[in-house]
Symmetry: C2
Subunit: 335 residues, 2 copies
């Protein structure tokens, strides 16, 4: 078992140790969901639930829970539920991207075809909603349903605006807020809500989760440009090819090198991928990545501000560490 | 505007007139949902929401509401929500079936590709869940989430057991109970719950909805075998080809004509479609359809029993008529 998002943190405060047992409980609870399904669905679910990822969202839930009074059983269920929503979106993403592997394992669509993968994603989403109704009142259920809707709407917007040069950088931020940051925000907001925190703290942690999610997506977008496929464990360099306008692409379009800006603009206007091999060797490329990293760092810095509202605990410290870990990942993209 | 499920009823009690205005309100409310979505999702939703179908589930909600004390605004919202769930499953079905048209209109996958169609279906499902949280307590939300999960699990089971001769007739019934009857059951159960009926009435109407949904699916399965594509407005004769074991197929497998039984068995075992042209001209085929129709009629007869629990009202009479209309549709399959 590894949680790479935690384990390589800059400082050695071992924030993972703090929630190691609880993360195991989350993993167990995800695996235990398999029995809630009909016999003919269980085998598929068992296999899907085996391929658990970095558990960033559950980690955020647990650290926030610890920092707002202590981790309760409801936090474990909530963490498992959010991870299930995240896994469902990955199942559908892999269908859409025709991806054969994820985390070095065959994807559901590769194993069983697109049909079953779409339907299994639906089962996972609806099961997550059932779990949500066991956690709180209708307002809480509504929050969860709205988050799922936000994530899906963000994905629709992304798919429908490929190669769309009318999409502004503000649109990009709004898109990733929905697609990625809404689950991060939900993790922190929901955990604080379950802890019974007052509304101003819940709102502040919602804001922090949003900032962290946006920073994480910026990192992911930079990684697609500069990362190593082997160490990332997934296919890279495909965003620009597919016409996704990510932050580094915006900075290429605004590059002080007019040639590069024009080349990237024309490639997108022709609905073609940019010549990644060539562009990635230019100074304009380094500059675009660097400006993206700076924007990511601004988000994490703002995210850290929120944490001073909470009393000092090892959990709050671990949340601070988590933001620094993200800074480190962002900085690594500059080379 | 037409509601074919209602308009050709055997008797002329004009049960449609009873809820015509309210069905219009449901249609308006479905159309009004478009504004709840993000700007870039609205255009797609507007087009999807235009293609409204027979409104059987909303009709069941409204008639049950009328028969249990009167139609309230919550019933209209609930009816719109259930239809949205149904529409979302159709959007995903059309992706899986590579269907280009439905109700004589191009499908979302035909218009915008599989990617967007999958994601738009997800948005619709999650939006329906948001609507659900505006209707009742967490128990009600859980019921809705469980129904959506049942529908999706039924679809998974169907997709994963194509050409599966180990699937029994009991498995078939359980599959269609989940895939189709759970939404019919939810319509009646939920409407009675919103009306504030006691638990025994809610349970009885749940049972009735299940029977009606099973009968409806049997009718749909027979229609696929004997129907006319033009009047049905959809592609037919494809179930057996795709390996779906429907009730008429089970009766062909059990046919007293050993030749036919063996031929159908072997075709399925080889994962091939049966020779529809030839088989459909045999007595064994007529017999299989007829036995299926009989089973459908047994379900509607049992469904009618439940209605005597309710006081006599024009709405209860219309529900009785609806079951007879289904009988008529089933009988028409015999020729």
């Amino acid at each position: 078992m590894s949680f790479p998002f935690f384990t390589k943190a800059r400082s050695q405060k071992q924030q993972l140790d703090l929630i190691r047992d609880e993360l195991r409980l989350v993993q167990k609870q995800i695996a235990a969901q398999v029995t809630s399904f009909e016999p003919h669905v269980q085998d598929y679910m068992a296999q899907i639930c085996k391929a658990q990822g970095k558990l960033i969202r559950p980690g955020l839930v647990l650290l926030t829970a610890g920092a707002t009074g202590g981790i309760k059983p409801e936090h474990i269920t909530f963490a498992a539920m959010l991870e299930l929503v995240h896994m469902a979106t990955l199942v559908h993403d892999d269908v859409l991207d025709h991806a054969d592997t994820r985390r070095d394992k065959p994807t559901p669509n590769a194993l069983w075809g697109n049909e079953l993968a779409v339907l299994l994603g639906d089962v996972m989403l609806s099961h997550a909603m059932v779990m949500g109704t066991e956690l709180g009142d209708t307002e809480f259920c509504r929050m969860i349903a709205q988050i799922v809707r936000d994530v899906c709407q963000g994905e629709v917007e992304q798919s429908s605006r490929l190669f769309d040069l009318d999409m502004t950088r503000a649109d990009y931020y709004e898109l990733i807020r929905k697609k990625t940051a809404s689950l991060f925000a939900a993790a922190m907001k929901g955990a604080a809500w379950i802890s019974g925190m007052p509304a101003d703290i819940v709102d502040e942690l919602n804001r922090m989760g949003t900032l962290l999610g946006i920073a994480y997506q910026i990192y992911d977008d930079c990684l697609d440009m500069v990362g190593n496929e082997h160490s990332a464990g997934k296919t890279l360099h495909t965003d620009a090819e597919k016409g996704k306008l990510t932050l580094p692409v915006y900075f290429l379009l605004e590059s002080s090198s007019d040639d590069i800006a024009a080349e990237v603009h024309d490639a997108i206007a022709r609905r073609e991928g940019i010549d990644y091999e060539r562009i990635s060797r230019t100074n304009a490329f380094q500059e675009a990545i660097s400006r993206s990293v700076d924007e990511g760092l601004a988000q994490t810095a703002a995210a850290r501000e929120s944490l001073w509202l909470l009393p000092q605990t090892p959990y709050r410290d671990a949340l601070v560490e988590m933001t620094y870990r993200l800074d480190e990942l962002l900085e690594n993209c500059r080379n």
